[in-house]
């Protein structure tokens, strides 16, 4: 019998040396409890990639002592949230010509910006409002010189999450100074 709408949380201390054990704990939990959780085996690898890249981002950039990782299991989807109270997200976009810092200025809301391009895919962020945004990947025309070898690779992690998942969002709550990255996997996608 499957158990729907269930949350399991893990604490990550935002240090590289603890990363593998947290990822392993998440993966083992899903594998061991999957009779009840019902997460399709076909997306287990994608889930592991996404959790790893979220935690790498935390280890490199969070600026806080710890993050909470919430795995929210539902009947038709899994949402993974990473919460911390560290430094809000900043992104250099549009070939480094502009820097986005959360919370955003009003004039930067409701727009697309390019975060990274590898020659075939363009990773873009859409600013929904001053506090939240979502990432999408748009296929672009194949360029002769692989831009993968020109651009820096610091956004591989965001690209991996955006391509592996069905939704990838970021939000910043000013009052509580909480950053939340949220990744969703739809089981019937």
């Amino acid at each position: 019998m499957k158990k729907y709408s269930h949350t399991k949380s893990f604490i990550f201390h935002n240090k590289a040396e603890g990363l593998a054990s947290v990822v392993r704990s998440c993966v083992e939990y899903i594998e061991e409890q999957n009779e009840f959780l019902g997460v399709p085996v076909a997306i287990h690898s994608k889930i592991k990639w996404a959790i790893t890249e979220l935690l790498i981002n935390g280890a490199k950039h969070s600026g806080s002592e710890k993050s909470r990782l919430n795995l929210n299991f539902n009947k038709n989807n899994l949402t993974i949230e990473k919460e911390d109270s560290g430094t809000p997200l900043t992104l250099k976009v549009n070939s480094g010509t502009l820097k986005l810092s959360w919370p955003l200025d009003e004039n930067l809301v409701n727009q697309h910006f390019e975060v990274y391009r590898n020659g075939m895919d363009s990773l873009r962020v859409f600013t929904e409002n001053k506090k939240s945004a979502f990432f999408i990947v748009v296929e672009v025309e194949d360029e002769e010189m692989p831009l993968l070898l020109v651009n820096t690779s610091e956004h591989f992690g965001l690209m991996i999450i955006a391509k592996a998942s069905d939704r990838f969002t970021y939000s910043y709550e000013g009052k509580t100074r909480k950053n939340v990255f949220s990744i969703s996997f739809d089981y019937q996608a």
């Binding site: 020659g119 993968l148 070898l149 591989f156 592996a164």
Partner: protein, 113 residues
Amino acid sequence: MILQVNDLENIVQATILPEEASLANADMFKEEMITLIANGARLIIVSFENVNYIDSSFLGSLVVALKYAMPRKTDIYLVALKPDVKNLLTLIRMDKVFKIFTSYEQAMETFNL
């Protein structure tokens, strides 16, 4: 040491030893690759036969090694990738910039053509 190296006349077979190619060993891998290139390797065949898992940090080190190798006329081939590893490389289009082969022998056949 993250690579087990077998160098035969500047054709280097470099086998990644850990099962997880990750943030924990990405910098060491990059340094060892750059040393092999700087020492005059013409071809480095990187074997992933032991690697069950790879992350963006390690992929970044692979790209840095390739960028260092290209102007020095060193080729880097990747061999023996397990499905999860290959799927992640393909996801972020790294299969477009690296030559990937199933085995060391297949890679050598191509190099000798």
